[in-house]
Symmetry: C2
Subunit: 211 residues, 2 copies
């Protein structure tokens, strides 16, 4: 099982080797793993900022609890969910699907109305929470795609979204930073790589219901 | 790239073959992929209910928009986040990590306090949203582990959490159903398997910032 091997191999890298960078071909693969990720109704209501520029990473570091991964990683992926949902997002989606699948727009117009109806049943708070959850599906696939290529990662929630939003003027773009992944190569002296991976026992995590 | 192949192979299965079931060995692998998934601070503040019992699945179906995947899948995984965070969750985590890594509890007590402090900075609404996001990392790994074994899946948010919570009396267990994954084998006549996978273009999903 390659998937289990990848999950066992990976760990949240605390110290990256600032001299080691991923190449363009690797970056393309990682972007494709994100792009192919599932999302609610397939809407993909998020954007991913990718930063390798050291000067920008240095400016971001104070907004991210001064963590060294920000500056030492090769590429920083910042996942930003749409701040507000708009029915127009569904129209755009239906347009994309029908074009790609060679269908008339009207074929899926009813499905679009169904999605709009369901989303409108959510309160604004529920809509935000729903939008913020979707990028996590892609985060996992990014981590998995990296592990397969023995590229290290550190998923990070340790930052103040408001600060990141202000820095990149994300508000104006209807975006909201929710989670980051630092991508690169571990430093040889990152002691975290030697720690035993700890997870809850199966019985504490799962409950088999019924027969 | 096996990861990209898995992502291309999979699709949200609309119709399962009710006669085909996954075996115990496959189920073990899938549980392990979930168990090894990363989560915020490593806390794993969720539980996963696994249901293969047809009678229970029949009772769940009306609570899940009558979708056929609920009854026809082999196993239904219901991901339930902790409803409320408690500092005790962190104490339990520190206890687990120190025991597993052969350390004194006091070695990581300060780290535990750090986590508690950070979580306490979140408003109750933010805490709930944060808790609800974590299982999505495991959902992706479950889907990936299935795809590797050519097992089909359908990630599902189409249900009323309150109904599911009531059905399983999850409130009493401080749990809240957030997302499901139906796992099994596609029906030969599921037309969804033949549709072209549609995703946003790279330029619409990514923004390279800086040089």
């Amino acid at each position: 099982m390659q998937v289990l091997n990848n999950l066992k191999w990976r760990y949240a890298t605390k110290k990256f080797d600032a001299d080691k960078k991923i190449n363009d071909e690797q970056l393309s693969c990682l972007k494709e793993a994100i792009r192919l990720s599932p999302s609610s109704y397939g809407l993909q209501l998020y954007k991913v900022l990718i930063i390798s520029d050291l000067e920008i990473k240095k400016q971001l570091q104070p907004l991210c609890w001064q963590q060294s991964q920000i500056t030492d990683c090769s590429h920083l992926f910042i996942f930003c969910s749409y701040k507000n949902y708009n029915d127009n997002d569904v129209d755009e989606y239906i347009k994309l699907v029908t074009t790609e699948q060679g269908l008339e727009y009207t074929t899926l117009e009813g499905y679009g109305s169904f999605i709009k109806g369901k989303v409108s049943e959510k309160t604004p708070t529920e809509q935000t929470a729903w939008l913020e959850r979707q990028p996590y599906l892609a985060v996992s696939n990014l981590i998995m795609a990296c592990a397969e290529q023995q590229i290290d990662t550190c998923p990070m929630e340790g930052f103040t979204p408001e600060d990141i939003n202000r820095f990149f003027q994300l508000d104006n773009k209807n975006l909201n930073a929710v989670v980051m992944v630092a991508v690169g190569y571990r430093s040889e002296d990152d002691t975290a790589q030697h720690r035993k991976k700890v997870r809850k026992a199966e019985n504490d995590l799962f409950e088999i219901v019924g027969s």
